[in-house]
Symmetry: none
């Protein structure tokens, strides 16, 4: 049986346009991967009759309804009540959920506010979906078939993406695969690239990205990181896998070290992996990126064995005091210059005693640009055992983008250096 | 009459998750500005029965239905046909639309493909909305009241945002303002809070967040930052403003320095503003946050006059070498301890010669926790002219959240210190 699904997002902040719903989009992709087709998205404001109507109408057209949002502790969180009303049942307390919520507060050294008690209420006959990522458990509710309509499964999840996504992947996805799985295997593989533009990559891949080709290969770009997504279908997992792997092999051949990873990899996860494999240490000296390289690296757990730390040398005094960049050098060439990037990197490497170090100096804007040194001009120095490399970039972009692209480029230089035999 | 609106986005690429619908969000904001409340968004795949059902069901709950997408020339563009089916009428050719479409192709030096002829078809009784921005005209269809439901106005617009937006602003908005214009002015004001949980804030605001109250006050939380959104309506801008200001005044009274800003403010923008007003300088010593505080601060342009820089002291050696934290102190109390947070903050202040400095040390996880020092334990030290403050936090959260909440808390301590007379 091919299931038809509907996704219902709840929240006046969504229908009023204050926030953009991204959960429905994410869930659609996840369900598509399992062969479950999402035919409807509904977004509904925080009113009880509106939510009940949306839940009820969904049963006329969908076998599976996934609801996000409205599970918080406040008065405008109405999902629990609406589900009970739709199903014609009472709300009852689930003791183990109550214990879990109290525990979450206890671990933060706080007592549970009385309001949060409502998060342990469930429509009679439904099952709680334990949520290790937050206080609100999800709800699993089976609505039996009636003379007018088939059976419908309702699953309510928290609206916060940080809680919703892992909860779906861990607790919901396997159960849905078992129940609605179609027998047609759809495999998605993503390769992540850095160091060439979208159109150049498309050129190098030739026929691969043509529409209608199978497997399908899509390209998306986000702040200079390019993702190639291969979608292969087969009657068995092996068949789909083999088709996908053939394309992946071709992409690696064509793009070489432009491919830095797969699936959810970021440059920092690849750098962390390479640092560990090569048993090398890294330190950072950041001016215009303001600590962003350090922040990205320290998003990777276990990095502490290889990332020794850094200096955010935002002021010239910090460059001199903490990195040993001669004041005279800054005076002569300016703080944004290849000479200062080099001195920052070498000074940082000496200070931290690291194997590798990067020095980044640039003009993030919007102010501070001149004719010869425009906003977006960035120098990155990389000091390593073999010497020092300096690269110049010119990002015509706004402040946040200049920072992010500079940080990524620095990480990419570290990656390429670590790849060398 | 206050109109209730529904927005229907049509396209399988949306329900399947290949594209993210941003039109509904944009239209919601535009309608809200006119006092028209959007209570429902529906997204529906390209199937005739599905679209007809969505259009039909919308009439049970909305006075105004705006449809985007499905007006192109290809076989999966079904909006015209679905509107005719719903209204129980035929599709008829509109000659002036046909002339317009032929003209668009002529001006591009091409003859009109036969397919595009369907774009000149309209449900009988509806009016074309000429579209100077593309080939597909919009559709204006009045569905009269029936015994079961009130009258509903349907407006179909192209799905391409580049065509939809100007067409709405030029051709639709003035007509809607005239028809549904309540003469009612709607004002939105947002206050941003840090330092108390969502339910605690709601408690302190008492009646304010009660549903149905006017003005309406909504609460949303994102990584411990709480937003309070006041929506006030009045017969004049002045009346609406006065109502909103009364609530804002009350919120300030009740929450005091928990309110850190308004509208788009983030803690770092408020800190940057206060540093500038008080003419103070700041430096940072970050362990578990890995440079995130520096990154957030340097997202604010112009911060370089007041943020001197920082040290990412990820390794113990960096704490000792660059911040002067005695190795013996780390040995005795551990790197994650109030003593080390204090020494990091004071060492950082001395090194950078700043007025204020923060020192942050903690266990971001998922590894590295012990029974006495669990994952999420964070100490923040704040060194200032008057001495040093140390605070302890226990975030039961995953790595990224521990980092972000710790960084925000550090910024908040700086803010509170700068607020002192």
């Amino acid at each position: 049986m091919t299931a038809t699904a509907e996704i219902i997002a709840i929240g006046s902040e969504l229908t009023w346009g204050m926030s953009l719903d991204t959960n429905s989009h994410w869930l659609s992709l996840r369900l598509a991967e399992m062969g479950i087709e999402v035919a409807y998205h509904t977004t509904v404001a925080d009113t009880l009759p509106g939510i009940v109507d949306a839940l009820d109408h969904a049963a006329t057209r969908a076998d599976l309804v996934i609801v996000t949002g409205g599970l918080g502790p406040t008065a405008d969180d109405l999902t629990r009540e609406a589900m009970a009303t739709m199903a014609g049942v009472e709300l009852v307390v689930d003791d183990s959920s109550l214990t879990h919520i109290e525990g979450m507060f206890q671990r933060r050294g706080r007592t549970m506010p009385e309001r949060n008690r409502v998060q342990a209420l469930f429509p009679q006959g439904s099952s709680p979906i334990p949520n290790p990522h937050g206080t609100a458990p999800g709800i699993w509710l089976e609505r039996p078939a009636s003379p007018e309509r088939g059976a419908t499964l309702y699953i309510a999840l928290p609206g916060v993406p940080r809680e919703m996504k892992p909860l779906f992947d861990e607790a919901i996805r396997p159960r849905l695969a078992e129940r609605f799985g179609t027998g047609l295997y759809v495999i998605h593989k993503t390769l992540r690239c850095y160091g060439a533009g979208e159109s150049r990559i498309e050129e190098q891949l030739g026929d691969l990205t043509r529409r209608g080709r199978a497997p399908e290969v899509g390209i998306t770009a986000s702040e200079a990181t390019i993702s190639l997504r291969v979608t292969a279908k087969g009657r068995s997992r092996e068949e789909a896998d083999a088709l996908a792997l053939k394309d992946i092999h071709f992409i690696h051949q064509q793009l070489g070290d432009i491919v830095f990873g797969a699936e959810e990899d970021e440059l920092q996860t690849t750098v962390a992996r390479l640092l560990s494999q090569r048993n090398k240490t890294l330190a950072t000296a950041e001016s215009c990126t303001g600590g962003l390289v350090g922040h990205l690296l320290t998003e990777v757990s276990g990095i502490s064995a290889h990332y020794l730390g850094g200096v955010v040398s935002y002021s010239n005094a910090a460059k001199t005091e903490l990195l040993g960049v001669p004041a005279e050098l800054i005076e002569r060439h300016g703080a944004v210059s290849p000479e200062v990037a080099q001195a920052m990197a070498t000074g940082c490497r000496a200070r931290f005693g690291s194997d590798l170090s990067v020095g980044i100096t640039g003009i993030a804007g919007p102010g501070g640009g001149t004719e010869t040194k425009p906003v977006g001009l960035v120098y990155v120095g990389l000091a390593h055992e073999g010497g020092i490399d300096i690269a110049e970039y010119n990002w015509a972009a706004e402040r946040s983008s200049v920072k992010l692209r500079s940080a990524k480029t620095a990480l990419n230089l570290v990656r390429l250096c670590l790849l060398k035999p």
